[in-house]
């Protein structure tokens, strides 16, 4: 079917990622009902904190699955050889899935009961036990990637280097977040290394690398041009993002130098994100070759725009310390988080899935209809949610942080906007379901014909 047989093994990564995304949205919907009927959740086994923990942890899991799948899928063509240890691809998948199930069970049954199983720090809720397993699993992925790169026939190209750096960075940055500190200041300092250095450095490198590889594969723009832009983007992402970390250090008990450093560097973070939009726009405009896979194109354009607007602009509006003093810990943060994360990484993962699954299944002629509708439903749904949360955030800042009303009375004022958010969530959920259905459809039909072929060959 393909010159790189291990590609077929990545299919389950994408399908599982998209299914976990559906579950994540379902948890989000339940939480948004919780906010509207606060007495409902306290009687259920899934209280708000458990839902929120799973909402975040499942997201981390499917992001990792999507990225690892994408890495394994894109690497062989660049390296000019198949993955070094194809069996590991399967083993890693099942171990990640088992770890995920372990995390879910721990959250539901052991929250508050065992610190080794549930650590309860936002994003790092998975207890120490799961952290160690997860780190080991991710290290084996890095090993497999590096082993493949070392024996590659081609010279190391920059997109692959950037991807590998992003993958290694993600794991390295996970470790400091796991160190125990007596001081909440030190603990938060390093917890943000995980969160910020993932989404604004390592994952951003993976995104830039993947977008560059997809543009290389789909267009006939010269490789040097794409690689030059990639290098400039990546250099700027790191230059601004690493010290831009300071925007999480304004109010956590760290010294005042961060107000200057964080404000200055994080305010520059949108620059490379704009460059990514601009270079993609230029590449696509220059390109004469027709692009058959329209769905991937939608997702990639969506991801670059979502990255610039959701991360860059929505980040910029609350990144300056003078503003962040008021917006910190309000619905403004939530609005930004629901723009930047799905806008960039969800669309990217779906984009890779739409690139990989039709090729693996040999169904390059798949109908684009459902993918496009699903894309627009996601856009409509998330934009409704983002706008609703943004307005809610402005009201919350005014009433709670300026007028000084109590938290709960402000929550009551925000009710209509939380209802609006729920509507947005439902629309996005429909889009997610449609895309999951479409991807499963594309991937399964061919399985039968493949078996037939194998039978024929035998």
């Amino acid at each position: 079917m393909s010159e790189y047989p291990s590609k077929i093994k990545t299919r389950k990564y994408f399908i599982t990622a998209i299914l976990l995304f559906i579950v994540q949205m379902l948890l989000g919907l339940i939480m948004s009902v919780d906010v509207l009927a606060r007495d409902s959740s306290t009687n259920l086994p899934l209280t708000f904190d458990i839902l929120k923990a799973l909402h975040l942890n499942l997201m981390v899991l499917w992001l990792l699955l999507g990225f690892i799948g994408g890495l394994y899928y894109l690497l062989p063509a660049e390296a000019g050889r198949d993955i070094k240890h194809p069996r590991l691809i399967d083993i890693q998948f099942w171990s990640l899935l088992l770890i995920g199930i372990g995390i879910i069970i721990s959250e539901i049954f052991f929250t508050g009961r065992n610190w080794w199983l549930v650590e309860g720090r936002e994003y790092l809720e998975a207890g120490r036990f799961w952290d160690i397993l997860l780190t080991a699993g991710l290290l084996s992925v890095v090993y497999n990637v590096i082993a493949t790169i070392f024996e590659s026939r081609n010279k190391l190209s920059s997109p692959i280097l950037v991807l590998a750096a992003g993958a290694i960075g993600s794991i390295l940055m996970y470790v400091p977040g796991e160190i125990w500190f007596d001081s909440i200041v030190a603990a938060e300092y390093f917890r943000w290394w995980v969160v910020h250095y993932w989404v604004e450095a390592s994952f951003e490198l993976i995104a830039a690398g993947v977008i560059a590889l997809i543009l290389l594969a789909m267009t006939q723009v010269r490789r040097e041009i794409i690689e030059k832009y990639l290098a400039i983007e990546v250099a700027l992402i790191l230059l601004t993002g690493i010290i831009g970390q300071g925007h999480h250090y304004y109010w956590i008990g760290t010294p005042g130098i961060w107000i200057f450093l964080g404000g200055l560097f994080s305010a520059l973070e949108p620059v490379p994100l704009f460059l990514m939009v601009w270079s993609a726009y230029k590449d696509l405009k220059e390109n004469k070759k027709p692009i058959p896979n329209k769905v991937v194109l939608y997702m990639i354009i969506g991801a670059t725009l979502g990255n610039f607007v959701g991360a860059g602009l929505w980040g910029f509006i609350h990144t300056l310390p003078q503003i962040n003093f008021f917006t910190h810990g309000t619905q403004i943060t939530s609005s930004h988080a629901h723009f930047a994360t799905p806008g960039t990484y969800l669309l990217l993962v779906i984009g890779i899935a739409y690139l990989a699954i039709p090729e693996i299944s040999g169904r390059l002629d798949f109908s684009h209809y459902r993918g496009k509708i699903g894309f627009w439903l996601l856009v409509i749904g998330f934009l409704n949610m983002i706008i609703a949360l943004m307005i809610a955030g402005v009201i919350q800042v005014y009433q709670q942080r300026i007028e000084g009303l109590s938290f709960m009375s402000v929550q009551n004022t925000l009710f209509p906007y939380f209802e609006w958010r729920l509507i947005g969530g439902l629309i996005a959920f429909a889009g997610g379901l449609l895309i999951a259905y479409d991807l499963i459809l594309i991937s399964t039909i061919k399985v039968k014909t493949e078996r037939n072929n194998i039978n024929k060959e035998i």
Binding site: E122, G253, W258
Partner: protein, 193 residues
């Protein structure tokens, strides 16, 4: 310039700068700025409970996934950085609130999670310590401060007629979004035709 060298420079310059910045941050945390969590204690029944044990319990019971602490966490419940002051520095009231929760407003009684009185006292010590941090003035003072009592506002019940207040906003935003979608799809069709 060579691409890989450019990337390496982009990585190394800020990464190296992070070393002194981190050292300064940790030095000030331990030295003069914030209290040592081991030395912040509350007393109950002649026992002293310290903020380090409290931090571990705070994590274990996952307070941070409903509440925020130093502004980080979830936005379902009030920030706990200065709750110690808000509640009138009343250790007994605070530990009691943690154990009994506020079911009608979304906080499960922590007793239901198997929380012991000892853990509640430890968390009280931790919240005392959180209130002593030098957070560059965040979250500032405000009339939300109360004396010794939890927030008396009760949570609103779900009422679908609320939504009418935002219907015009919903309609406006969605017309805008549809206009963008139509414009994009039409332009693309023109180009392809």
């Amino acid at each position: 310039m060579n691409n890989n060298r450019l990337i390496l420079i982009g990585l190394l310059i800020p990464a190296i700068l992070m070393i002194p910045f981190s050292i300064i941050s940790f030095y000030t945390d331990f030295a003069n700025r914030n209290p040592d969590p081991l030395s912040v204690t509350v007393d109950f029944d002649q026992n002293a409970y310290n903020a380090v044990e409290g931090k571990k319990a705070f994590e274990q019971y996952q307070c941070m996934d409903c509440h925020t602490i130093v502004g980080n966490g979830a936005y379902f419940a009030p920030d706990l950085t200065t709750v110690y002051k808000r509640i009138g520095e009343n250790d007994a009231a605070l530990s009691n609130f943690i154990l009994s929760g506020a079911s009608a407003k979304g906080m499960q009684p922590m007793r239901d999670r198997g929380m012991t009185e000892d853990d509640a006292y430890r968390i009280t010590a931790f919240l005392k310590y959180a209130n002593m941090l030098d957070t560059n003035g965040w979250p500032g003072a405000g009339s939300w401060e109360r004396d010794g009592n939890p927030d008396s506002t009760s949570a609103k019940k779900l009422d679908f007629f609320d939504i009418w207040q935002v219907v015009s906003g919903i309609v406006f935003i969605n017309v805008l979004i549809f206009a963008i979608i139509l414009a994009y799809e039409n332009k693309k069709n023109d180009r392809e035709a």
